[in-house]
């Protein structure tokens, strides 16, 4: 038998039909939906008189534009309120389970799926959100889709997909102390470039990947899309199984044993060929800070703002110049000399309990620098609850952080948690695009530990600097 990649194995198990001259029809095991990219899909379904084929394989939550303060009060923003009401109505009408604002299971889609044990190895998972790649951390094939595709999945539980190429990202060496999964993700994207993964499913491989916790693996897979990849995957192993065992939707008893047998086979066979391959040396990494307006534009915290002339192609030089103008940065400025106005800790990239622990450890017994606005937005209501049970909320609030309720919040600035024009943030989110966190806002992507240290120092800092 031909040696297969992890991705081929998952793909093949989900092909429902492969008609001549058409992309394959793939079965979807789990469809996550939220308020922002679903209303038009439900409308299309209703106009065509179609039903949701598998409400039992569909889960809805509210995350993108929900408030993170005063969640017990009516939503002030009338447009957000309307969108949320639509989701409620659509779920009720089509018998879809909804973890609504205020529910203990509510949270960012990509945080709640794994938390509930719904995301399992070998599954196909889709959502109308590009960061669906997060779920690939479990050895699932998980990718973001548009609203027309959301409608297609609702109606058919399948998607028509051209098979992507397979790319290996080999991570050699061990992550140095003080470096986190976020620094690794940013380092990989720096090597890959914003479009290097287009048309490919990445498999992250190597000892530094195996050494990561599930939270860390989710951070790495989450940002696959920032390198353009269709999805990112990591072969499931004992770390994966230990995370899943006993969760609400994980298999139980004899079924658990059966599932384990199957999951252990979800690895790339020796000798399997990848269409593309890159290598990243984890040992050479340092805490990363982005300086530009795409996630590939990052340097180590020990470095300076780069000179656009140092880039290899005119297109990259032009991009760097434009980015520095937008970011109001001068080449040669030490990253540590850049001051921030706001620190945001949260998002589907870094809003899980482990992330909050890392940040809390740094701020414990310290104070947020005067004039800096600092927010912690847990990725889910359960994360918030667990953090509070450990007392993390008090470390944050004693230091001067705002302790919010779960949602996407300032990652994309739909809910009013935004930067003012010209404001600069250190953010644990995933995108530093122009205006991403609010029109005219300037975003620097960092790990939770760097975000926390930066909040204390008022300028970019690693925990060791404090």
């Amino acid at each position: 038998m031909t040696a297969q990649r992890l991705f081929d194995k998952v793909w093949e198990r989900h092909v429902v039909a492969s008609p001549d001259g058409e992309p394959a029809l793939l079965y979807i095991d789990l469809h996550l939906i939220h308020e922002v990219t679903s209303p038009q899909a439900f409308e299309g379904l209703d106009l065509a008189g179609r039903e949701v084929r598998r409400p039992d394989l569909t889960l809805a939550t509210m995350d993108h534009d929900v408030p993170t303060i005063g969640i017990d009060k009516p939503i002030e923003d009338p447009m957000a309120a309307e969108q949320i009401a639509r989701l409620r109505d659509n779920c009720a009408k089509h018998n879809i389970t909804l973890h609504a604002l205020g529910s203990v299971e509510q949270g960012i889609v990509h945080v709640i799926g794994p938390q509930l044990g719904l995301t399992q190895p070998g599954m196909t998972v889709v959502c109308g959100d590009s960061h669906t790649s997060t779920h690939g951390a479990f050895g699932a094939l998980a990718f973001g889709i548009g609203t027309s595709e959301v409608e297609h999945v609702l109606a058919t539980q399948t998607l028509r997909q051209t098979k992507p190429a397979g790319m290996a990202v080999n991570v050699t060496g061990d992550l140095p102390r003080g470096c986190t999964a976020k620094d690794l993700a940013l380092g990989i994207i720096r090597t890959l470039g914003t479009g290097g993964g287009v048309g490919s499913v990445i498999e992250y491989r190597g000892p530094a990947i195996s050494a990561l916790s599930m939270e860390g693996r989710m951070t790495v897979c989450n940002m696959s899309i920032e390198g353009g990849a269709r999805a990112g995957m990591i072969a499931p192993d004992d770390t994966t199984f230990a995370f899943l065992e006993g969760r609400k939707y994980s298999p139980k008893g004899a079924e658990w044993e059966g599932a384990l047998d199957l999951w252990r086979g979800l690895v790339t066979d020796p000798g399997a060929h990848f269409d593309h391959e890159i290598t990243v040396d984890a040992a050479a990494l340092r805490p990363a800070v982005t300086w530009g307006t795409n996630p590939a534009q990052s340097v180590s915290i020990d470095d300076q703002v780069p000179d656009p002339a140092a880039f290899t192609t005119p297109a990259l030089q032009q991009l760097a110049e434009r980015a520095l103008t937008y970011m109001d940065l001068t080449p040669g400025t030490a990253i540590r000399d850049i001051s921030v106005d706001t620190v945001f800790i949260g998002s589907c990239t870094n809003g899980r309990l482990e992330d909050l622990r890392e940040a809390a450890e740094v701020v414990r017994g310290r104070k947020v620098y005067p004039g800096v606005r600092a927010l912690v937005v847990p990725g889910s209501a359960r994360v918030k609850e667990a953090a509070e049970a450990e007392g993390l909320d008090r470390y944050f609030t004693d230091a001067g952080f705002e302790w919010r309720s779960a949602g996407c919040s300032m990652c994309l600035g739909m809910n009013g948690d935004i930067l003012a024009p010209g404001e600069r943030s250190a953010s644990t989110s995933n995108r530093n695009f122009e205006g991403r966190q609010g029109p005219g806002g300037r975003t620097h992507l960092v790990s939770p530990a760097v975000a926390a240290a930066t909040a204390v120092a008022g300028h970019f800092s690693a925990p060791g600097d404090l």
Binding site: Q120, S130, G146, A315, G413, R431
Partner: protein
């Protein structure tokens, strides 16, 4: 959805790579619950710059957007395609597209015309020389041409996407032809795979 055969008209050159969907339609616009009404949101931050290409005379009549590599990267928001369409763009010509954006285009009847790097450079030169030039995108022939400059470039588009665009097909109806295969597949799925409990 209406089929699209040929698009002729003014082309706008946005010579930049990595144009992300947050720029195409900023998040504040994603609160709309319909598929229309996004035209004013298209590139709204960049349009505050008087020199931006969409602020040049005649740009509001353009049907063809010519841009750089990795167009439509970032967020999966199909609103980006709806905004382009609402403004009047029926096609985007670029050397490469982000995967989700490309699918969204085809599903919303906007043609993602992927040309070579060299072809892209020739189109940009022709438009720099004559910004008023008429361009023609022919979906059946998979070509984009600027006749006044004597430029004709082939573009890549899968046969299936081409068929969908030409005919304006209902993708879901096409899939439902495979209803029996879907049922058979479902009957074979392991029973321990998770199903979401009601309520």
């Amino acid at each position: 959805m209406a089929g699209v055969q040929q698009i002729s008209g003014r082309a706008v050159a946005l010579n930049r790579r990595d144009v992300d969907t947050d720029q195409i339609i900023p998040a504040a616009w994603l609160k709309l619950v319909g598929r229309t009404g996004f035209a004013d949101g298209l590139f709204s931050a960049w349009r505050t710059d008087p020199n931006f290409v969409l602020n040049q005379p005649g740009a509001n009549e353009a049907k063809i957007l010519v841009s750089g590599a990795n167009f439509g990267c970032g967020s999966s928001r199909e609103h980006a395609v709806w905004a382009l369409h609402d403004y009047g763009f029926q096609t985007v010509v670029a050397p490469s597209f982000a995967d989700i954006f490309r699918n969204n285009c085809v599903n919303s009847g906007v043609v993602p015309a992927q040309v070579t790097d060299e072809g892209s450079a020739r189109l940009f030169s022709a438009l720099a020389a004559d910004p008023q030039a008429e361009a023609i995108v022919d979906v059946a022939a998979r070509t984009v041409a600027i006749p006044s400059a004597g430029v004709t470039e082939q573009f890549e588009l899968s046969d299936f996407a081409q068929w969908q665009l030409l005919e304006g097909l209902d993708d879901i109806a096409l899939t439902l032809r495979h209803g029996t295969s879907i049922e058979e597949y479902e009957a074979d799925r392991p029973t321990w795979l998770p199903t979401v409990a009601a309520g």
